[in-house]
Symmetry: D3
Subunit: 240 residues, 6 copies
């Protein structure tokens, strides 16, 4: 099985680590390949970033299908371009936010999302509402570190995620933790351990892992998104 | 007052008529200017069309603010790019779907939207839900004529809109009619007359008119969207 | 264009100021006239006040239509009698709560309402739910000054509104402020300035202004409420 | 126990029958008294009728408390004045719509309401939403006979109610039937029998009976409405 | 009228007191009988307890109908087995949670539930959502005393219930209090008095009382649950 | 990886086929074992069946954990005992309804469920609401063949499922089909082919497949349900 990870930003130094994480988490028979965008934002932190990334995402997703990939993961918690990408191709296209929130809602009555910046709170709340999990979202708690600073201080990031996760369980009655940025990838075990040490173990869901396992399962089951929900763009034959 | 209408498609022959409609409906002290996109789709009929239009919309909206416009209307019922456009500028940016649905919900307990194609039904239902009018939407009834064919048979379009509007009131208990495409602009009086002749007069809301009057009112009142809901894109100072 | 403001209370000393505010905010071509009720409550602070005001409101609204007015504004945030008034006449009847909440929901993802008394909280929450804005209401924060004391200490009122508005933005994540009483009319600029000085500028929406601009726009667009939603009272021909 | 039935219309010929129905359905230790309004509408068929009835209802409810009644029933499915009446007094004030819908929702997953006129559909749907039973309302089916004609053709009314009840169960998957007008009082057994003969027996709920049994139970249990939800009108001490 | 109380646990020492409470609260013409389960849990404090109690509840409910009882109350706030019990018999089967929440929602805009343990919060929130009272639930506040310890320190229980009730009214804006465990039976007057002394009197609803009065009213009105919502188990005639 | 399938009914002739289906669909490294209940119903077609199955399910689930299984699937679309089973063990326990509805909601905006009997409609609607997919459920369409007759006429069952699936897509605007009974296991390809031949291809989701792939993914990811949502039953140490 071949899964393509589309990271919807321009190339970055540690992309090999992103690929490595996916490859390590994938089943042995799964081949992971990863692409960044030729053109697009350096990070996705607002609706404009997202809008600027979508044209490149569509190109990358079409390429993945043309190259015989079995599924595509759009590696960003905003699920940017998920809907037009599903119009564009017939292979499964998976978004970490949709996959991660669905998983969280299946495993726990309430979950909290660890966001990046204050401005994410509202965006994640609206995303939760759109996906149907409004009443399950205990809270959104940002770490207040910009995405592009994640790599400069990994232990600071980890400490901040742990801190907010503990607060979410203690103060907001969260029954599960969902990372709100794919840049927090790989922190799951550490955060889970910290919560257990705090005497409040709850599932810690890495949305990229949720997306990967959803993609694998869809390919196994021969399923993909409905083309009635995502009908293909029709040729503009009626040009006036 | 100067209002800029951004039609989020590439230039089309009858753009002067669009401008004319807005100009005729505007208050005497309002100056309407209209731009199309340099690059983008010829029509917006799916999520990919929308995605391809947004970068051009952002450029056009920034230009409008730079040129001293008082407000911007994005002339498409998908409200494409409304959210990133509001991040990009501080002058009011208005979308016909949001303005039209809000107006319909204020004037009637239930309203139907006259859509373009079958595939619009789901999109408009989700839009209604996102804007909070889920329980107010009586039905979405498409005319099943592609947007780019509107201009080739205006009387066919009118007949189809009238037909669906009458069915919506008769069969779906619609208490108001909202056009589901800005390309139906100007048909309000004819549809209203047909409904009255059918013995079932209800308000017929042209969303472009709703958007225009909202824009005028916002400028008058010195109001614009909240920058806390639409914070500006921050400079990518942290490039790794 | 002639707009009638119906203040649904018995005459009060500063009614000229209310009229003046509307007149100043109206477009140059709009003529504002204002009436109070011959009989009714001195203020509207509970459901009984509201009930006692409605018969007088209906008389005033019918008079307005008979006198050729183009639209009516019921100057109270409870929107008292909005529904029967719309049954009674065909000209647009506008309520500041409906107009203000709709505007707030269009400009911001979340808004707070500055109420009068503790007892208003629940009433405004239920109003928000009835109008469809349940998930958009960040909080209701009363000033705890009775309406009839507003005029005695205008600067105390202003300070209290500013204080609650700042708390709403800081503590409740409000992205816009909506006044919860038409008696707070005119405080918009001061509150907006105070919020800006606090480093948290958000739109401050005066519901009377929202109602006025909605009324102007409706008259311009030739629109009014749906008589299917608000069918006229039928003659009691079947008296037994 | 003494229960006062306030029929919120001016006196009518068959009021003795209304009283008789309540008296027959009440427990032996309950004394039923009934009053009409001195001033008000002849029937309640629109929001204006309702508004005109409320001042008289408030007088009647206060009188009931002053005369030592244990509870009050407002005999109309619009629950007119329920909220201000609860502000006005401390004894339980019960509305047939609230009592009947609550009972229907406890006994069945879905219920239909048999309304009076087409125009009731929307009103009853909104009432159901306000009381929290939106997802439980299978349909509203009007008999299309004006209230004031009920007494002239009782068997015609019965046939129409039976007809709509059968359609609701057959076509709308109703699991219970709720009368949508207190004027249908007493038809319960006939409608239940007709449904059983049709092979589709479901509970038929007479809202006046639901209100009566709720009132009896509240008095037994020493309970009444919360004065925090319905705080009393405060004296207008601050008159300017 | 004969009402059977099924306490869905194995026999306990103070069952005579439970029976006594119901008997004292019942109307004079009502005969209360009480049974425990032959086999089942000693208390119901989790979903497993509930599951283990249901088979015994079904036996007890069928026995009650066979013995000519007029109605059954399942004496537990989890309403365990309410749905299959209604399938099993035709006499009314009443659950204190459904009855109590409905009553609370009729008497107050918002209510809080006094729960037993921290783990109840989520269960009661989901129950409230299932019954339609999601937006009416102000809070769930547990006393953190296990059910089986209630009898060992009655005054400690009372103090804890009073304490949480006062906090619910003060801090969560509760307008009514509902006990979250039938083991709190009889504490209503004390809690009501304590709230009144705190200057915040609100209705205090004992769910067993709500269930009893609902049962009495249903029998009086000749009503029971819909067999279309709770169709009987069909014989397994198709055994392969 | 070892996955235990608990079929919550007494042993049946074709259990080997159920096991075979799971085994064929599982990844090569997954070992499927299947158990029926020693005691319980022959089929699950009502709430009583479900209640009678739960004690046996709990025993089977505990056994699975004791035997070192990695995950458990409860093979019934009612998800019977899902909640107490999750209290009982720490390994993932998966229900086909929750897994199937979540998957359907991720792949399509709207989906229909093919039910067994008329009486399932309401049950599935309530299940959909509890899991958060209320607005996504296009319809529930039963085949009206009792579960225990499935095996006697497999081609009749297939024809009925195909027929209802086609109607759901044509008439109810379903964008995906979800089987409403695990007894329909294996019909996916046939139904998908029939829909494609009808010119309306949509995803056909076999809930047992959804459950299996979810279970595999959870084990891979080291995730299980939250013990805060499903806390273990505590020892009844306080027996009075």
């Amino acid at each position: 099985m071949r899964i393509r990870v589309v990271v919807p930003v321009t190339p970055y130094d540690t992309a090999y680590r992103t690929r490595g994480f996916y490859a390590a988490a994938a089943r042995p028979d799964v081949e992971i390949s990863l692409v960044c965008l030729d053109e697009g934002p350096a990070s996705i932190e607002c609706d404009e970033d997202e809008a600027l990334a979508v044209p490149g995402i569509l190109t990358a997703v079409r390429e993945a299908e043309a190259q015989g990939m079995d599924a595509v993961i759009i590696d960003c918690m905003a699920d940017p371009g998920l809907s037009p990408a599903r119009e564009a191709v017939s292979i499964p296209v998976v978004g970490p936010a949709q996959a991660g929130m669905s998983l969280a809602a299946m495993l726990a009555h309430r979950f909290s999302v660890i966001g990046v910046l204050e401005r994410d709170i509202c965006a994640i709340e609206r995303q939760g509402r759109a996906y149907g999990f409004e009443s399950r979202l205990a809270s959104v708690r940002p770490v207040n570190i910009p995405v592009l600073a994640f790599d400069r201080d990994p232990s600071g990031l980890e400490a901040a995620v742990v801190d907010q996760a503990i607060r979410a369980v203690r103060e907001d009655r969260a029954h599960a933790i969902l990372f709100g940025c794919t840049g927090m990838q790989g922190l799951g075990p550490q955060v889970a351990r910290a919560l257990a040490e705090d005497g409040r173990p709850v599932p810690v869901i890495d949305p990229t892992l949720a997306a990967l396992k959803l993609a694998e399962g869809l390919v196994d089951a021969g399923l993909t998104h409905s083309k009635r929900s995502y009908p293909p763009r029709e040729p503009k034959s009626h040009w006036p």
